[in-house]
Symmetry: C2
Subunit: 245 residues, 2 copies
């Protein structure tokens, strides 16, 4: 069933914002009686339409749905900005997999070719992708995609743990330590995964990261993963470790 | 470092097949002394070029590399054939994540629009993608992509376990049982994940699957995953459970 995230004002008025009214009427061809889910303030409500045309839509709430599809820890993906449209895919699939936040990070080896003036537009687009993916995967919240940041501008010390996915760890056969810390996280913990761009993380950056006491270098299995696969691996393992039994 | 999979005959002759000779000379601009890795019969050798032009290439073996990047169980992805080019992405990223075999499966809800005569070409292309992804991720083997198959033509009983990723399990909050069986697999076990296409697995198909004693219905976390994300989640969890400590 279709889900729409809306704000409190629209929910109080039992309507949708104008763009969604148009979409519901024209694209989805909803009629009186059609049902959908609205997400507001982390809660989900099943609603049924009582009035609809191209410009107006009203609904009544049938029930609050007891859905909690969120991971029990907040996961930020600090992604070394990759080539092409890969960051969009990471936001899309990473949202499905439960990420709370994404930071497009300009690392040394990011081959970054976006004009300065287009950066803000990019971030708007990333957040739109996160919203749509949240609706499709029945998330309770929409992850935030922050603005483009340099590594030194990210408040790394504020996370309980920052896992640094370091290819050299994989090559050196260092496969230890990740599971134990993931198991040990308290509910509500705030963790991050830092993932390099195509060329990996620069040695100077590694040196800088080592100055933080909450950094943990990890390998994501034996094989060399593409940068766009690493975030999905990381999020899948958080879900597996903490949600599945 | 670049890796090429080659056959025994080319390795015995200490050369590469003609298309790779051209690529090494023209595209990669290798010269005498350039090093790369050849993969043959699950083994990896570091080699250095002793002769190179557009049509001829010879190398000497410097050393056998003790690389074993394979999962300790064989994982087949039986993928309900999805829309568009998604299957290609599943093969690419699934190969990085350690899959042994992919079967494009024509399920009831596969919206399948490929002409019969183009099927064989598609499979050739899928296998080429698997080879390239294997080289990039330093696999020891190249996963096989089998021909398009119907569910009833797949020998499901030959697997130790077939995990069926069933969206209804997720909706119903059934999150149990997967981890325990994954942990308990013997080294060398042969497992499969069956993943529905966009519309999911049909009820008649579920009924058929239930006639097998080696089927296990599982959920891949609380959120609804896109079909192309499910295989990557599944493979990530096999790596996490069996490779990381």
């Amino acid at each position: 069933m279709q889900k729409f995230f809306i704000n409190t004002a629209d929910f109080t008025a039992k309507t949708l914002p104008p763009d969604l009214v148009y979409q519901a009427s024209k694209v989805l061809r909803y009629q009186i009686g059609s049902q959908f889910i609205v997400g507001v303030d982390r809660k989900n409500y099943l609603v049924a339409i009582t009035k609809i045309n191209l410009k107006e839509l009203e609904y009544q709430v049938l029930e609050e749905l007891a859905i909690d599809n969120e991971l029990d820890v907040a996961v930020t993906i600090i992604q070394g900005y990759p080539k092409g449209d890969k960051f969009e895919d990471i936001v899309k699939h990473g949202t499905e997999l439960g990420a709370s936040c994404f930071i497009p990070c300009l690392l040394e080896r990011s081959q970054f070719k976006v004009e300065e003036k287009r950066l803000a537009n990019k971030v708007v687009r990333f957040n739109k992708i996160a919203k749509e993916a949240s609706e499709q995967s029945m998330r309770n919240i929409i992850p935030e995609v922050k603005e483009f940041m340099k590594l030194k501008d990210i408040a790394l010390a504020t996370y309980d743990i920052v896992y640094v996915c370091y290819e050299e760890s994989a090559k050196a056969g260092e496969l230890s330590g990740y599971k134990e810390t993931l198991k040990g996280l308290k509910k509500g913990a705030n963790i991050a995964f830092l993932i390099g761009p195509e060329g990996g993380i620069d040695e100077k950056e590694i040196k800088y990261l080592k100055t933080f006491s909450n950094i943990k270098f990890i390998s994501l299995g034996k094989r060399i993963l593409r940068t766009e696969t690493a975030a999905l691996y990381a999020l899948s393992t958080v879900s597996y470790e903490r949600e599945l039994i």
